[in-house]
């Protein structure tokens, strides 16, 4: 289980992955004549149509080859729309304080000025602050960028009201599709007020993360901004050659991995996608419920449920015990888990997104590990271990540490086998890495072999 919040690490089924290697998909040149690419054309038309259906938008372009590129494409579409209306002054982009970091960066790249909107105490966008910002920038408002459900992992009731306010001041609503896995089959951004969105096929639609890429970040638009989707001077579809210009070097971006998302939707159908959303939300609520007595769950929607992910607040424990969120993350390695997302969107917290792909046994194993780590923090808090000498601070434990001299205040078993002897134990190849040392002494190429001498 890789419980990374906001990243939607779901199963990459072999049937979805296999077609990528078929010569018909792998060996085609991007500027081959259109009649030589009939298979791709059908696949892309299907996929763009299906994505439009599930998001409630009119048109989709799969050209952007990353989420950040999709954001830029979406904002350029909004900019193009305003310019075509003669609204050259509409350049202010409102961004809630909880937004993904890429949002603000994309807005600047699209030539917009960023104005931050505050969050209310419950984590939702502060509508009073939004109203004030909209009134102040009424003549220059270009757009708002919101993530739904929010990056806090909660369905906010106020989203329809938010869209109304922004539309009332002539702005467009950009809904970041990072959390679409909590909406498919239940709500459509294009219907509840969004004008533009980008999706992440590498999150919601099963393209693997591949250590950080490659991704696909299609941009979806409603009605008016449609003519401002990415174009390409050598596009196989002649009507898409002129326009705002290409966002990516190739007309269809990362075309070679689109069969993965095509296969996912083909295998799931409408009812399957809807059920996946429900199971993902159920899993997150199960984690929130099991861990709530041990780690406070930071934000919840109306009435209590979280969306498809939940934020576990470690800050109180850090204050009381000296054990940091980093220590918890590294200690999870000893328990055989990849850490959840750390310190996003709130510093000192962990964000867990189990997705629909994990079964109950695996989710329970994760919850058990978190509860056991809380038990270790309790022992630090009780004074049994100092934070510096605790197994938490020394995590992760390597095989080298196990067989070497042992001068720790806890036993070898507690260090490396906290849940008992496990034949499937994962052994990290290195101990805790000093990140600051490497930044002070920046080396980004292979060190000489002597550096590895014992």
């Amino acid at each position: 289980m890789i419980p990374l919040g906001s990243c939607t690490m779901k199963l990459n089924a072999t049937t979805e992955m296999e077609p990528v290697s078929l010569p018909g998909f792998a060996d085609l040149h991007p500027f081959a004549p259109a009649e030589d690419a009939a298979g791709y054309r059908k696949l892309i038309d299907d996929l763009e149509g299906w994505l439009a259906e599930v998001t409630g938008y009119d048109r989709v372009s799969i050209q952007p080859n990353a989420g950040s590129q999709g954001e830029l494409a979406g904002l350029l579409a909004i900019r193009g729309f305003h310019l075509a209306n003669g609204d050259t002054e509409r350049t202010v982009c409102l961004i809630p304080s909880s937004a993904h970091g890429t949002n603000a960066a994309s807005a600047v790249m699209a030539g917009m000025k960023v104005v931050v909107v505050k969050a209310a105490d419950d984590g939702s966008v502060d509508l009073d602050d939004l109203q004030a910002a909209c009134e102040k920038h009424s003549d220059s408002l270009a757009a708002i960028m919101v993530t739904y459900p929010s990056t806090h992992g909660a369905y906010e009731d106020s989203i329809t009201e938010l869209c109304k306010i922004v539309h009332g001041h002539g702005g467009q609503v950009y809904v970041d599709g990072a959390n679409l896995n909590a909406l498919l089959g239940f709500a459509k951004p294009g219907e509840f007020g969004g004008d533009v969105s980008h999706l992440n096929l590498h999150k919601t639609f099963c393209i693997p993360h591949g250590g950080g890429g490659p991704g696909v970040g299609p941009v979806a638009v409603q009605g008016t901004p449609a003519p401002y989707l990415p174009s390409h001077p050598m596009h196989p579809e002649p009507e898409k050659r002129a326009g705002i210009g290409p966002i990516s070097a190739a007309p269809y971006g990362s075309a070679g991995i689109l069969p993965i998302s095509w296969a996912y939707i083909r295998l799931m159908g409408g009812p399957g996608l809807t059920r996946a959303t429900a199971v993902a939300v159920l899993s997150a609520n199960y984690v929130a419920l099991r861990l709530a007595d041990h780690f406070p769950v930071l934000y919840r929607g109306h009435g209590g449920p979280v969306a498809h992910e939940c934020i576990l607040d470690v800050r109180g424990l850090t204050k009381d015990s000296g054990v940091s969120v980093d220590d918890v993350a590294k200690r999870l390695v000893d328990y055989g888990f990849h850490a959840p997302t750390m310190s996003f969107p709130v510093a000192g917290t962990l964000m867990v997104e189990p997705t629909e792909s994990e079964d109950l046994g695996e989710i329970d194993r994760f919850c058990d590990a978190m509860i056991a780590i809380k038990g270790e923090i309790d022992r630090v808090q009780a004074g049994e271990w100092s934070p510096e000498n605790s197994p938490l601070r020394h995590a992760p434990h390597t095989a080298r540490a196990l067989v070497g001299e042992w001068d720790r205040v806890y036993s070898r078993e507690v260090g490396v086998f906290p849940t008992g002897i496990d034949p499937d134990k994962y052994w990290p190849p290195v101990a805790r890495i000093d990140r600051a040392y490497g930044d002070r002494n920046l080396v980004c190429a292979c060190p000489p072999p002597e550096a590895f001498a014992e």
């Binding site: 599930v54 409630g56 591949g210 069969p259 159908g269």
Partner: protein, 433 residues
């Protein structure tokens, strides 16, 4: 879900999608779609080259879930294999481009060039004026740069650099090396002239050519960008591929994304992690999986092989990375098709055999019509990949039938004469004993 999702946003009705099918049926449909594509022999070039993905790499990297399912290595203690592969990639890029620091976060050559343009603005506040782009740059690179520049309010001037830099101030320069036409322009005078006007220089380079040509970094380039696709990543109809960027000393902290760097662990041993941690956690993506497809050791040999193929039919002793194919006065062999690539019918000596090789379809390499660069007659640059070395004789037969002839171009011998190998010959470190 009724308790969780606010009623006001609930969609009416079910999703209107085709009914789900079994895994077997979906796989069959995808095979059918793949079969509708006709890859043919792609010799269009423009930054995309037919290449061989060695089966051992296809099977053990591209198709291996332990490589492709993993997350961005934010937890470095459990990602050392990934990070080591990425730092090897950065090392090879640094060696080939002749610049000390490379990253592994770029998507393709066009976006890498656009990122380089913005990097120059961050890294060099002295210069002002338009960003000048080589008219012989890849056409899609020029357009991606234009899109990005328009958003940020940067002026772009596309200029023929054969006669030197255009007059006036400039904030940066992008030179394509070798050019999209196959021409290899000595970038040194341009780099010197740009530096003389306080501007920094980006060279967009063909990585395979750099195994034979002098590294741009050694000729004074400040940034080198490009795509490493032709080092074994399939064409994929345009992507995903791995772009690259390397920078000179002093610019490393302006690199987009976070490069992989070396640090030490709690026991004092070298360990890898993403450097420059003060940045946003959500960074521009890296093409993690694709960098691992490249193996440095055969790179230079490949460079020679690819050069040898056209050269064997060119003028003796000429030196070029991209020979050009010129079509003499022959009528009737018109290209057909839409888009940039054009299929050229070829009279094959043994049509029956050709059909059986190509699934009964028309054969012929996909070539590109390129505008004349300062000459009257349009040209059809022929781009050769290592893939073609395998089919060399068959292709040669096709080309001879067409009475096409290769015109090599003599390049300043100094450019090739100074070609360097890889200072990190093994490309990977030895595992600690």
């Amino acid at each position: 879900m009724a308790a969780a999702v606010p009623g006001g946003i609930r969609a009416d009705g079910d999703l209107d999608l085709p009914e789900a099918v079994s895994e077997d049926a979906a796989a069959k449909e995808l095979r059918h779609l793949a079969g509708l594509n006709r890859p043919a022999e792609a010799m269009i070039g423009l930054g995309y080259h037919a290449t061989i993905t060695p089966p051992v790499i296809r099977r053990n990297v591209l198709e291996d879930p332990s490589w492709y399912t993993a997350y961005t290595p934010y937890q470095p203690e459990i990602s050392q294999g990934r990070l080591e592969a990425l730092i090897n990639f950065q090392t090879v890029i640094g060696d080939l481009t002749g610049l000390p620091t490379a990253n592994s976060s770029l998507l393709d050559e066009g976006t890498a060039a656009a990122e380089a343009m913005t990097l120059l603005r961050r890294g060099n506040k002295k210069a002002s004026g338009p960003f000048v782009v080589d008219a012989d740059a890849l056409p899609q690179t020029i357009e991606v740069v234009r899109t990005r520049a328009a958003g940020m309010g940067i002026d772009v001037v596309v200029a023929d650099l054969t006669a030197g830099l255009p007059e006036g101030p400039l904030s940066g320069l992008l030179v394509q090396y070798p050019g999209a036409s196959g021409r290899i322009l000595d970038p040194r005078p341009l780099i010197e002239a740009a530096h003389g006007r306080d501007a920094l220089v980006v060279v967009a380079a063909d990585l395979l050519a750099l195994t034979l040509l002098e590294a741009p970094g050694e000729m004074g380039a400040d940034v080198v960008v490009g795509s490493s696709q032709r080092f074994g990543v399939p064409l994929f109809y345009g992507g995903p591929h791995a772009g690259f960027m390397s920078v000179s000393a002093g610019l490393e902290r302006h690199l987009p994304g976070r490069p992989v760097g070396v640090s030490i662990d709690a026991e004092g041993r070298p360990a890898y992690r993403l450097a420059l941690q003060t940045r946003e956690q959500h960074i521009p993506p890296r093409q993690g999986d694709l960098q691992h497809l490249h193996r440095p050791s055969p790179a230079r040999r490949r460079g020679f092989d690819v050069r040898r193929l056209p050269r064997s039919r060119g003028a003796e002793g000429d030196r070029t990375a991209h020979p050009r194919l010129r079509r003499p006065h022959r009528r009737g062999a018109r290209g057909r098709g839409s888009g940039t690539g054009q299929r050229h019918p070829v009279r094959h000596a043994d049509r029956a055999r050709a059909r059986s090789c190509c699934g009964g379809r028309r054969v012929g390499p996909l070539l590109r019509a390129a505008p004349a660069l300062g000459r009257r007659r349009p040209r059809r640059p022929l781009h050769v990949g290592d893939h073609h070395a395998l089919h060399g004789l068959q292709r040669a037969a096709c080309l001879r039938r067409q009475r096409w002839r290769l015109r090599d171009r003599v390049v300043d011998p100094e450019l090739g004469g100074a070609a360097v190998g890889l200072p990190h010959p093994r490309g990977v470190r030895q595992p600690p004993q």
